[in-house]
Subunit: 319 residues, 2 copies
């Protein structure tokens, strides 16, 4: 069995290979040739364990994610994850991977696919709201698919934003990275805006004039009571692209907009349709909303596993 | 994170320590101080993935078991398993263990608890029907709790029985081990009879005279359409002891007997009641039926983990 830690998960694939893996995942999603049971939630006190299995033709995998909010008091991550990948024919477990690394890597790649298919090719300015654990990979993949020269960061905790850009600047030495003092300033300066928070209220000003002509990528909110986008955004949209139709139930950014008739169900389009038809949209204002799904995890895990074997990355253990 | 392979899972605890761990699991079960969500079944083609999480006060764990019946054609085990143990406070994964080894070890210990509480102390003859993967640990634990001198084995495939006793004799050099040519012969010669098959019809003769005065331990059947025990056994029983009340739904050996009124619901007693009250039964004919539960897995996993750290067993990996 191959064990891959955080660094090894990251080093197995190039950004382009990860983007290709996510395009493949969207094509598999479109084909229907997979089996993704409903995820299982187990609650114990304040803590949650999520079990997310998915089967493809060659493999199946299960991501186990624990969410322990009290960890922050002890300066520990509130989320830990493990990904177990199994051979689809025999059922034998072939790899164990750091699940947090896998999640942020594939979420970054999904954000990159969103940018590739829903934003103009020549965009050079990017804003990220929320300087948490997902922001880093979002920035890398965004800069991988668009010629970003100016990158803006806003976080309610300015010190967090400063620490984040210090780290990011090392990975993106040619990009001019700045902290903004407000979300309004960030949206004003950026053509693409990625939101990566778990906020329960909009993190972007509710101002149609400001929002018009911008391209939004929402990767933070993943529960019905979470919202990152303001009401005035929705009437500006022709379509609302989602990574999975489950987004209609899973995130407040889609569920509430539907409930309040800010958008019509017919406007919600899975981005897999764009990937399958190789269609790049050409819209003035756009929103791609990602909530994630286990199919992404298993598809990227099998790519990481195959490349890690080729490149001799990771530790083999006899189990 | 500590990785424990098959051999390491087995070597961390003595048989007595494993029996103590299962007694502790039954005490926890009686106290109600745990959380065991319904297991999740995911099916894909002929294959099944079972996800079995359970929370105790200090830890939580998830056993992932894959059942791929076609593997037998390729001379592979049809069942593979992985056990992930997490720290209950932080949620961090602390150990990965070979799940098949863990399952057979704890199932052997549960069988041993059944023998300890439901059979006379001085019994010296044991029969095992079914020479598969569970039979070996059942034999070891049975010989650990009773002064077994004569051990009989029956399997429909006689060569399988012969191979099994050759292996078992090495572990139990002082026990006289023999293959029987029929299940009737085995039951006639043995005071305790362990059934360890996945048969859909009784593997024991339906003959009250033969069955009277015998002590049965059923560890094989775990689905409603599986039956190992014959109809004439039930009227001989005062109580039917089970490892968990879920046995009433999960195994045909209890579900069908209840449905056909061969036994009354009031006669079904969780063995945790005996363990909690330190009551050894004194019945002429008895049956203990085990179907297993995730609580056993997490309790023995946390004991194995703690001892493995003390004894420096296993491989530490940085994940």
């Amino acid at each position: 069995m191959l064990i891959l830690n955080q660094k090894e998960v990251w080093s197995a694939l190039t950004l382009d290979e990860a983007l290709e893996a996510m395009e493949e995942a969207f094509l598999i999603f479109e084909s229907g040739d997979f089996h993704m049971p409903d995820r299982m939630h187990a609650h114990h006190g304040n803590n949650t364990l999520l079990l997310m299995p998915c089967f493809t033709n060659q493999f199946f995998g299960t991501k186990l994610v624990s969410v322990n909010p009290e960890n922050q008091k002890n300066n520990l991550p509130s989320i830990y994850g493990s990904m177990i990948l199994n051979d689809g024919t025999s059922g034998e477990a072939v790899a164990l991977m750091n699940g947090a690394a896998l999640t942020s890597f594939r979420t970054g790649a999904v954000g990159g696919i969103g940018i590739k298919y829903t934003t103009p090719e020549n965009i050079d300015s990017l804003g990220i709201i929320g300087a948490g654990v997902q922001a880093y990979t979002q920035a890398l993949f965004a800069c991988g698919v668009r010629p970003i020269k100016k990158l803006y960061v806003y976080d309610m905790q300015q010190t967090k934003a400063n620490e984040f850009i210090a780290k990011l600047q090392k990975s993106l030495p040619d990009v001019n990275i700045k902290v903004c003092s407000s979300n309004r300033e960030l949206v004003g300066r950026s053509q693409i805006i990625i939101t990566a928070t778990t906020s329960k209220q909009a993190v972007i000003p509710d101002d149609a004039e400001l929002l018009k002509g911008k391209h939004f990528i929402g990767i933070g909110s993943y529960k019905p009571d979470m919202h990152e986008f303001p009401k005035q955004l929705y009437p500006l949209l022709n379509k609302l692209y989602v990574d999975t139709p489950f987004a209609k139930e899973e995130t407040g950014d889609v569920a509430t907009a539907l409930k309040e008739s800010l958008i019509d169900d017919s406007q919600i389009v899975p981005i897999s349709k764009l990937v399958a038809s190789r269609t790049l949209t050409n819209e003035d204002t756009s929103l791609f909303k990602s909530v994630g799904m286990a199919l992404f995890d298993v598809v990227i895990a099998q790519k990481i596993y195959a490349r890690a074997l080729e490149l001799n990355i990771g530790s083999q253990v006899n189990i």
